[in-house]
């Protein structure tokens, strides 16, 4: 009986070894093509694969051989050999050689990784729950000083207002950053709340963002393209949707992109909207949204009053520039887009939003009668950004939900889930919500959730 089992065990071991090697050789799942100067990392990995792979094959095949050859047979007896110093010495020696063979090249590569070239251009990546922002030094080539205590909705980067070096810093309040091709860059990494991690799989390097200090990482992009930037250090509920994009492009395109963003001084100089000037503009809106911006379901126009002004501005601009309301299936969005286009410029947007802000904020009537139990559980996730009271948190880029039109939220959640909203490449914060809306398994979950939201006071 032992003979049979021995054969089965040996065959299983051999099959596992052969299968593992074949899986490795034939698998389509391997590193994504590299887009940085760190091909030495990939070489170190190949070397390690050869060394460890041979040990894996050798040890396990030898074990399979022993299993068959030295299986129990009637009358057989094991050898008696307490130890064999010579054999053990050889094995230890060979192992040590293999280890050194893997470690030494690794340390040489690492020495390059910690040694940032003097001519590397600097940019800063700022992480917060659950968004990325970026900062480039202005003409003076120096990043201004920052501190958590300066952070506010108006100054989300925490720039020191008194530091002259900071005034010309270019602030990218967007999850997408562009980098020039073929030039070494040093990323300074900073977090204003919890730990995050700056990881672009194509660049191979990654580094944590630690609140209270600045960390760094350097690389030279070697290929143009658009790459995913991921947070890879658990940072809370929204961790898996804390995404960005790194676009590598030629120097000229990069400079052009960079010039489209405001400096810190410009961002602070923005004037508030004028509600009086916005009043006549609102007349167009009132036709559907109501004179008090209270919303009108029959016209498919949601309540606007009480919504965060920053959010209304962002959405008006999205509509205006085709980032929203452009999808074929977004029937009502397509109606809104030409309306938004009637607002001539930023000032008009600011003015009309300023006027909406003056309108009375009465809770929209609840129209859903669903059971709220499951919705309450689901809302634990939503509340992480939108606030447990659902009043919205500007710092999280999360608009107000409670007291707003519930039927509208149902439509939007479905749109997000089906890729009708939030899929446009210029909709910066939409994709995050689209990923979140995907957690709603079915329509029942959606209406249950919204029904719960309309019970929050």
């Amino acid at each position: 009986m032992d003979g049979g089992v021995a054969m089965v065990v040996a065959i299983a071991l051999v099959l596992l070894v052969v299968g593992s090697v074949l899986f490795h050789l034939l698998s389509p799942w391997y590193f994504t093509p590299i887009a940085s100067n760190w091909s030495a990392i990939d070489d170190t990995i190949s070397l390690t694969f050869w060394v460890t792979g041979s040990v894996f094959v050798a040890v396990n095949l030898f074990m399979a051989y022993c299993v068959v050859r030295y299986r129990h047979r009637k009358g057989s007896r094991a050898d008696y050999e307490p130890e064999n110093k010579k054999l053990e010495g050889w094995l230890v020696g060979l192992t040590a050689v293999g280890i050194v063979g893997m470690l030494a090249p690794g340390l040489f590569v690492y020495a390059k990784i910690v040694d940032v070239p003097k001519d590397a251009a600097v940019f800063e990546a700022v992480g917060k729950q659950w968004h990325w922002g970026f900062r480039f030094p202005g003409k003076d080539g120096v990043l201004g000083s920052v501190d958590a205590r300066y952070v506010s909705d108006k100054n989300p980067f925490g720039m020191n207002p008194d530091d002259p070096f900071g005034r010309d810093d270019i602030l990218i309040a967007s999850p997408e950053v562009h980098l020039p091709l073929g030039k070494p860059v040093k990323a300074l990494l900073r977090s204003i709340d919890v730990l995050h991690d700056f990881a672009v799989p194509q660049f191979r390097v990654k580094m944590d963002l630690v609140p209270g200090m600045v960390t760094r990482s350097w690389f030279t992009p070697t290929r143009t393209g658009k790459f995913d930037l991921l947070c890879e250090q658990l940072c809370g509920i929204g961790h898996f949707v804390m995404r960005g994009k790194v676009v590598v492009e030629e120097e000229r395109a990069f400079q052009e992109w960079l010039s489209g963003y405001p400096t810190f001084a410009q961002s602070m100089a923005q004037v508030a909207g004028d509600a009086e000037a916005g009043k006549p503009l609102f007349a167009v809106c009132a036709a559907c949204h109501g004179a008090q911006a209270e919303g009108n379901r029959a016209m498919n126009a949601p309540k606007l009053s009480g919504q965060g002004d920053w959010y209304l501005k962002r959405q008006l601009n999205n509509f205006k520039h085709g980032a929203r309301g452009a999808h074929d299936k977004d029937l009502y969005g397509k109606q809104m887009a030409p309306m938004a286009a009637t607002l001539a410029d930023n000032a008009a947007v600011n003015n009309v939003v300023a006027y909406i802000k003056t309108l009375p904020d009465n809770p929209a009537p609840a129209t859903l009668k669903d059971d709220t139990t499951n919705g309450r559980n689901l809302y634990a996730t939503c509340g992480a950004c939108h606030g447990s009271d659902g009043r919205g948190v500007q710092a999280m880029n999360a608009p107000r939900l409670s007291g707003m039109s519930d039927w509208y939220m149902v439509t939007q959640l479905k749109n997000f889930k089906q890729g009708i909203r939030g899929a446009h490449p210029n909709d910066r914060y939409g994709p995050q919500m689209a990923s979140m809306a995907a957690i709603l398994a079915d329509d029942q979950a959606t209406t249950g959730l919204v029904a719960y939201i309309s019970t929050i006071k």
């Binding site: 307490p82 000083s145 209270g212 200090m213 600045v214 960390t215 760094r216």
Partner: protein
Amino acid sequence: MATVVWWLVRQTINVRPWIAQRPIDNVYGDGALSLPPVKVGLGVFLAVATSLFALLISAYFMRMAGADWTTLAVPRGLWLNTAALTLSSVAMQWTRVAARRGRIDGVRIGLIAGGIFTFCFLAGQLWVWQQLNASGYFVAANPANAFFYLLTALHGLHLLGGLWVWGKTTAKVARGVEVGAVRLSVELCTVYWHYLLLVWLVLFALLLSTPPRQSSCTPDTIAICGVTK
């Protein structure tokens, strides 16, 4: 760890374990230390406590590099408390000598004196806490304060644990047992008291010697110690 390795070397060099032989006549298992298990147990426990305090002290040093570190103004009451704890240790040592010489009266006096001085120390520590609190140095006021409260609390808890054994021993003596019945307990208490005195002296020295502000972090270094500008 070094001790463990050294001891192991002594046990294993030139031993060929596969050779069977009759055991040497030894009361304890071969290779065992000729100490009662409780003493070895205390030794192991002191190793654990040392690990605990050593880790806290390293944390103290690492936190010290933080930008907001302000040195604690060492309350003067701590000198008095240190004296009390030293006296309690001396009393315990005296008790141990008395126990060895078989003088139960000496043991009784020594234990009581040691206990009183220890209680004085603990009361003194509480008094220092209160003083600090009264002058606005709450636990969260600054990191040096937080460490002070944490270190003294843990040290105090260890002493309280010792006082429990002390209480049992003193109760036995009060019931009028023979010296032999408490000799081991007295030994253990004494070792433990000396150890906690040593820990306290190290902690106290740490509080006294902390420089006003020490930062090894230069602006462009990402140092282990933390904050960079």
